[in-house]
């Protein structure tokens, strides 16, 4: 039994769905975390050593667990949230746990690139911390933020393929079950090629968008 056209299309859709949904949720968690990582730093807007330390420890813990282990380790939690540990929806939960802290770090890095002088100028103008974050920090870092998030999406595409290994569906699933376990080299090559095209597309889009938002 060989793979048909529809199965490949469905796998592509599942990969995009997993990546997209996981990216959305990860962003919701990672973006505020990234901002807090920056502003609670020593000498920053809302300097707070204990919050900063706690955030760093938690994020480092999640960042140090390999995705394949994280996936298995949080199965009970996944069941609790989506009701099952198999399938595309179930794969999204570990993906969010994987990408959320990662995005937080990426955001932190981008925001730290903003010239300290700009923040000082904002303070001197009498801007409140929230105004500084939303009117100065984020707009100034936007171009770099877009590139950082592009990296996150590419990482998620890769991770979603790995989620296929535990029955998450998507291109990874297809490559493992047909390409690897049934020695179907053609399917293996096709899935890899599709992944390459996906990643190239995302990266190009990220590059263009980043250039677009450099000036707003």
């Amino acid at each position: 039994m060989s793979v048909n056209y529809d199965q490949i299309l469905e796998a592509i859709w599942e990969t995009i769905y997993m990546t997209g949904a996981a990216f959305g949720f990860s962003l919701l968690i990672g973006f505020p975390l990234g901002i807090f990582l920056v502003v609670t730093r020593n000498g920053h807007l809302l300097e707070n050593e204990s919050v900063s330390n706690a955030l760093n420890i938690v994020i480092n813990i999640f960042r140090s667990i390999p995705f394949i282990i994280l996936m298995v380790a949080i199965i009970p939690l996944t069941r609790l949230i989506v009701g099952t540990s198999i399938g595309t929806a179930a794969a999204i939960v570990p993906l969010v746990f994987y990408a959320g802290p990662y995005i937080a770090r990426l955001i932190e890095n981008s925001l730290l690139e903003v010239d300290k002088g700009v923040i000082e100028a904002a303070q001197a103008m009498g801007a409140s911390p929230a105004q500084i974050i939303f009117r100065f920090l984020i707009p100034e870092a936007l171009s770099s933020l877009v590139l950082a998030l592009t990296i996150a999406v590419v990482g998620l595409i890769g991770a979603s393929a790995m989620a296929g290994a535990i029955g998450g569906g998507g291109l990874g699933d297809l490559a493992i079950t047909y390409g690897y376990q049934r020695f179907d080299t053609f399917i293996m090559v096709i899935t890899v090629a599709i992944l390459v095209v996906l990643v190239q597309g995302v990266q190009s889009f990220g590059n263009i968008l980043s250039r677009r938002v450099r000036r707003s």
């Binding site: 100028a121 303070q123 001197a124 103008m125 009498g126 100034e140």
Partner: protein, 343 residues
């Protein structure tokens, strides 16, 4: 009016304490252009940042128009900051925003109605001479233009005080001059009190009324620019003054003066105001039997008053020289013997 009362700033660096400011007492009167000069590490940046509380003084207080900032809540501090404009050495503009948006930023923060913003920003850009650049981005502008944007932005909230943090240090001499002229205009037209810090004595000479010299976190000398330039007391002050009014004699000339047979005496003459215009030297030479040899001379302007500095070698009979000196003093010219000074 800005008053510093025993302001100290101590930074903790590991176990070490760094005393950036050691008890500063200064008063900047309303409408003045007050310059603080010092070498790097003297504490200038810390000092200027205590005014808008970007730096909290460790000790002492800073009063703005008589109000002690340290007693204010952070919200009140933000309000008072809108009354204190600040410009920076590296301009600190938003590179992602247009010139217009940069200048509009303080108004946006204050939630000014859009129509008012349009008008005010246009006026501000007109004032700083960049009305045609509104749609450009900062990285398309020269350093001088960026500083003009910085100035327009600082003036947007109609402040009564303007802080200038090494505002011309990243600019070439010609651009520096034009920015200083703009600051002068701001001071005159809006009666804005300006406190500036710099390491360039030329800046002080160009626009300040008063100057304080900062060293190791202490004010070692202060006064009107005229007093300090014409009669510096401390070694550091003298170095600064000399950096713009060089009165050191060339080596070769010194060697010539100090030849063994030479028994000539050397005097420094300081002319101020009207005395600059009188032909004292030629008259003295005619009236008394002395020969004058001008070794060095310059005339500059301090706060709109001409100020001249001459180093002159007198030769002739001692009695004649003494009479000549008395006559020079009668013309309100400060004269002192510097034979040993120049050696």
């Amino acid at each position: 009016m800005i008053q510093f009362e025993g302001v100290a700033k101590i930074y903790q660096s590991g176990k070490q304490e760094i005393h950036a400011l050691n008890g500063i007492d200064l008063t900047v009167e309303t409408g003045e252009i007050y310059g603080v000069i010092g070498f790097s590490g003297a504490g200038k940046s810390s000092l200027i940042r205590t005014v808008n509380f970007l730096e909290r003084p460790s000790k002492g207080r800073v009063l703005i128009h008589g109000k002690d900032i340290s007693t204010l809540s952070s919200k009140e501090i933000r309000t008072i900051r809108k009354d204190i404009g600040m410009i920076f050495q590296h301009f600190n503009l938003l590179n992602s925003k247009t010139v217009f948006h940069n200048v509009a930023m303080p108004l946006l923060l204050a939630k000014t109605p859009k129509a008012d913003i349009e008008k005010q920003v246009k006026d501000l850009l007109d004032f700083v001479g960049l009305a045609d650049q509104a749609k450009k981005y900062p990285d398309q502008l020269s350093g001088g233009q960026k500083q003009r944007i910085g100035i327009a932005r600082a003036l947007a909230t109609n402040p009564s005080v303007l802080l200038c943090d090494e505002a011309t240090s990243a600019l070439d001499p010609q651009t520096t001059k034009s920015i200083l002229d703009l600051l002068k205009k701001i001071n005159k037209e809006y009666n804005i009190t300006i406190l500036l810090i710099t390491h360039e004595m030329g800046v002080i000479r160009e626009i300040c009324n008063k100057v304080a010299v900062l060293e190791d976190g202490k004010v070692i000398e202060q006064g009107t620019v005229f007093e300090v330039f014409s009669n510096p007391q401390q070694a550091t002050t003298k170095r600064f003054v000399r950096s713009v009014m060089n009165d050191e004699l060339p080596e070769s000339l010194l060697a010539q003066i100090h030849e063994p047979h030479s028994d000539n005496t050397i005097f420094r003459l300081q002319f101020t105001g009207n005395s600059v215009g009188t032909p004292v030297m030629s008259r003295v030479s005619r009236d008394f039997n002395v020969d004058l040899n001008v070794l060095f001379g310059n005339i500059t302007e301090l706060q709109g008053v001409p100020y001249g500095n001459l180093i002159v070698e007198f030769s002739g009979e001692l009695k004649e020289i003494e009479r000549a000196i008395t006559s020079i003093q009668d013309n309100n010219i400060h004269i002192e013997e510097v034979t040993h000074y120049v050696s």
